[in-house]
Amino acid sequence: MIYLDYAASSPVKEAAIKVLMHSTVNDFANPSSNHQLGLDLTNKINLIREKMLNLLGIKRGYRVIFVSSATEANNLVIRGLAIKKGDHILISPTDHPSIKVPSYQLMREGINVDALEHDEEGLIDEKHLFEKTFLKEKLLALSYVHNQSGHIFQIDNMVKKIKEHNKNIHIHVDGVQAAGKININMRDMLIDSLTISSHKMGGPKGIAALILRENVDLHPLILGGGQEYSLRSSTLAAPLIFAFFAAFCEAMEKKDELNLKLSNLKDYIMENLPKQCPEVIFPFAKAITSHHILMMIFPKIKSDILIRHLEMKKIYVSTSSACSSKNNKDNEVFTHLKIKSAYHQNVIRLSMGDETTLEEIQTFINEISLIHQDLIGIGVR
C-alpha cells in the first residue's frame, strides 16, 4: 500500500499508540472526580495544556480547550462568539466546511457573512482583506495552510496589520494543516483562537484542541458538568489527550527533518512526473505551498477515474471533484483558488508525511503515468 493522503488523516505514530494503550488501561478514572486518581489526571492534563502552549510559542494569555474534533473547535468559535444580527464576519469561500457551514447558519440568523478574495496565485488578496477588516468585521476566520491546495497564507503580517486598525475583531485561525508541519509562534501573532487536530499529526481521532485567548467569552455548544472552563462540558478523554500530546511533541521534534524530506520529494515529483506525463499541471508554486501537500491537474482525465485506477494498485490519493460527470457544477473552492473551471474535475491532491519514501513516490509517478497514458490511449473522456 502506498498512502498519499496524509492531509485527510495520518497513520498513528507509534509513540502515540503506546501512550494511548497504556493510558487507556491505567487512566480510567474520571479527571473530574474529587479523589486522588481524578486529581492526578487533572494535574497531568493541565501540565499538558501548558506544554502544548509552549510548543506553539505561548507563555501566557491563552487556554487550551480540548474538544472532539477540529470541526467542533471551529464551530465553537463561530457559533460561540457574541455576534449580533447586523454584524459582519469575514471568511474565505475556500475554507473548510467546518468554517463555512456554521457561518452560513449565522447568515440565516441575520448576520452578514463577507467573502475574502484570492488573487491569481490563490493567495489572499490583502488589499481587499484590509479594506474589509479595518472597518466593521467582528470575526475573521483564516486557514493557516489550505487543506486542498497547501497554500501557506501569511497570517502573521496580515493579522498584525488588521489589529492595528481594528482591535476588537476576533481572529480565528484554522491551523489543522499547519500544526506540526510549520512553525507556529503564537506569542506575538495577535490571533485570538487557533484550531489544531490530533489525527492530522499522527495522533488518534476524536481529539482536537482550541487554543483560545483568555479574555475571550464564548457560548458553549455543549452544556453539562462545566469542564474546560465551562466551554465544553464532557468527561475529559485523558488517554486521547495524552496520545495527542505525544504525537504533537514528536511532530514538532522532527518537523525540520520532515520538511526537508518532503521538500525534496515534492521537487522530485515536480521534476520527474512531467517527464513521464507531460500533460500534468502543478497549479501552485512550491514556494507558496506547504511541503506536505501537492495539488496536480490532469487536464485530459477525470480525477475520480484516475484515483480508482490508482486504488486498484493500492495507491491512495485524494480528489474533491464532483462524483459525476453529470454534476457539472463548478467547485467553489477551486473557483476561488483561481483554478480554471474546465479543470475542476481533473484535480488530484497528493499529501505526504513521515512514512512517505522516495521509492513510494517513484512508484506513484510510474503508475499514474502508465494509467494516464493507457486511459488517453483508449480515449476515455
Partner: protein
C-alpha cells in the same frame, strides 16, 4: 386495526383449466408477504374469486402496502364480516364512520353478490343500505352522490358472510409472480430499466437483475444506486437476486480492438451476450431491457436489429413504444424516480465517441463478432464467474451472497 382482509384477484376470469395453478401461485405469494409482515400464521380462505385473510392481531399498514405490490391482485379491502343479515350492516358502517379521522360528506353503496341464492340482488341491497345510512345515522350528515362519492361503502355478499369495507387499496394487477417465466433484467441506474422491470412484474415474471459495473471507470456510487433500485423492485418479487458483473476491464479490452464509433454498439452486443450466458446458467427464459426506440443513438432501429441478430436469446423490450414522459410518470408512481435522478457516471458515455455510428456497417460488425466469438465468450464467462451476487428479500432488504 382490521382483522380481515378481502383480496380480489385480477385477470382470473381470463383463466380456464389452469385456474387452480394460478390461484396457488398467488396464494403462496400472499401467504409469504403476510407471514413476513405479520409475524403470525394467517389463515387464508378461497371464496369464489377472492382470498379472505384473517389475523388475530389485526393487519398492519406495512402488510397492506406490501400486498399492493403483489402481482395479480386487483385490490385489497380491510373489511368487517357479518352473517347474511342485512339489518346487521348498519352497526358496522356506524363503527367505520366513527373511526374516521376525516368525515366524508358524500357516499355511495356498491354491492357485489356472488351468493346467487341470497334473496335480494345487488341493486336492491345497495339501495336499501343507502336508505338505512341516511335514516339511522343522521349524525354523520351524509348525502348520496353516485358519481363522485367521497366514501364508497363496499358490500360483498358471499355464501356465508357479508363483507363490509370503506377503504379499497388497489393492487398492481396482472399475473401472479412466477407464472410467466424467469427473466434476466438488465439494469443501468437510469429511468428506463427499472420501469421496464416493473412492467414485467405485472406480467408475472420472476426476475434476476443484472448490472454491468464498470469499476474503476465508474465509482461505488453507481452500485449504491443499483442496490437502492433493486431494493424497490425486489418488493414486487418473492425473493430475487442481483448479479453485479465487473465490466470495466472488459470494456477497456474491447475498446482496444474495435473502431471507436462502434464502441457503444459492441458494448450493447456483449452485454446482451453476457445476459444470454447468465440466462443459460440460470435456465431462465428471456432478457428484459429498458430500450426505447430511437431514444439515443444506440437505440436506432438499425442498431437494435443488428444486435438482436447476434443475441442467442429472446429480448423483451416493454418500453419500446413509450415516450420519456410516460416512463418518468411510472417511475414516480413506483418510487424509482428519485433514485434514478441521482447523478452517476456512465461508463458507456465515458468511452463513447463524439459521433457514434447510427447505421452500422453489417459486414464489419458481424465479421468482427464472428471472428472473435470464442475469445469474448471465454472472457464473458470469466466475468460471470467473478460476479458479485446479492439476495433481495420479499421486503427489499439486500444481503450480499458473494
Amino acid at each position: 386495526m382490521y382483522k380481515l382482509l378481502v383480496i380480489s384477484i385480477d385477470e382470473l376470469w381470463l383463466k380456464g383449466k389452469n385456474r387452480p395453478a394460478y390461484f396457488r401461485a398467488i396464494k403462496k405469494h400472499v401467504v409469504d408477504v403476510l407471514t413476513h409482515y405479520q409475524d403470525e400464521v394467517i389463515p387464508i380462505k378461497n371464496e369464489e374469486q377472492r382470498l379472505i385473510c384473517t389475523s388475530e392481531k389485526g393487519f398492519n399498514q406495512d402488510a397492506i402496502l406490501a400486498l399492493q405490490k403483489v402481482p395479480g391482485l386487483h385490490s385489497i379491502q380491510p373489511s368487517r364480516a357479518i352473517d347474511l343479515d342485512l339489518e346487521k350492516i348498519i352497526d358496522e358502517v356506524d363503527l367505520e364512520l366513527a373511526s374516521m379521522r376525516e368525515m366524508p360528506r358524500t357516499f355511495k353503496v356498491i354491492t357485489k353478490r356472488t351468493n346467487k341464492r341470497f334473496p335480494h340482488n345487488s341493486m336492491e341491497i345497495s339501495r336499501y343500505i343507502g336508505h338505512l345510512i341516511l335514516k339511522k345515522l343522521p349524525q354523520y350528515k351524509l348525502v348520496v352522490d353516485v358519481h363522485k362519492p367521497q366514501l364508497v361503502v363496499s358490500l360483498k355478499v358471499s355464501d356465508q358472510h357479508i363483507y363490509i369495507a370503506t377503504k379499497t387499496y388497489p393492487g398492481i394487477g396482472g399475473q401472479p409472480f412466477n407464472t410467466s417465466g424467469h427473466l434476466i433484467t438488465l439494469l443501468s441506474g437510469g429511468f428506463d430499466s427499472p420501469v421496464a422491470s416493473f412492467l414485467m412484474n405485472k406480467r408475472g415474471c420472476r426476475q434476476t437483475y443484472l448490472f454491468f459495473y464498470a469499476y474503476p471507470f465508474v465509482g461505488q456510487n453507481v452500485l449504491d444506486k443499483i442496490l437502492k433500485l433493486v431494493g424497490i423492485l425486489g418488493q414486487y418479487q418473492n425473493g430475487s437476486k442481483l448479479y453485479v458483473l465487473p465490466f470495466g476491464e472488459f470494456q477497456k479490452e474491447l475498446s482496444d480492438h474495435i473502431k471507436p464509433d462502434y464502441r457503444t454498439l459492441f458494448f450493447r452486443k456483449y452485454m446482451l451476450e453476457a445476459a444470454a450466458l447468465l440466462k443459460s446458467r440460470l435456465k431462465a427464459d428471456a432478457i428484459i431491457t429498458g430500450d426505447v426506440l430511437s431514444q439515443v443513438s444506440s437505440q436506432t432501429i438499425g442498431n437494435l436489429a443488428i444486435v438482436d441478430q447476434l443475441t442467442p436469446a429472446m429480448v423483451l423490450r416493454p418500453l419500446i413504444g413509450f415516450n420519456k414522459s410516460e416512463i418518468i410518470e411510472i417511475s414516480r408512481k413506483i418510487n424509482t424516480h428519485d433514485i434514478s435522478t441521482i447523478p452517476h457516471d456512465d461508463a458507456c458515455a465515458m468511452f463513447a465517441p463524439k459521433h457514434p455510428v447510427l447505421r452500422p456497417d453489417p459486414e464489419y460488425f458481424l465479421s468482427f463478432a464472428k471472428e472473435n466469438q470464442v475469445k469474448y465468450e471465454v472472457l464473458l464467462n470469466q466475468v460471470l464467474d467473478q460476479a458479485g451476487i446479492y439476495q433481495i428479500s420479499i421486503d427489499g432488504k439486500i444481503n450480499q451472497l458473494k
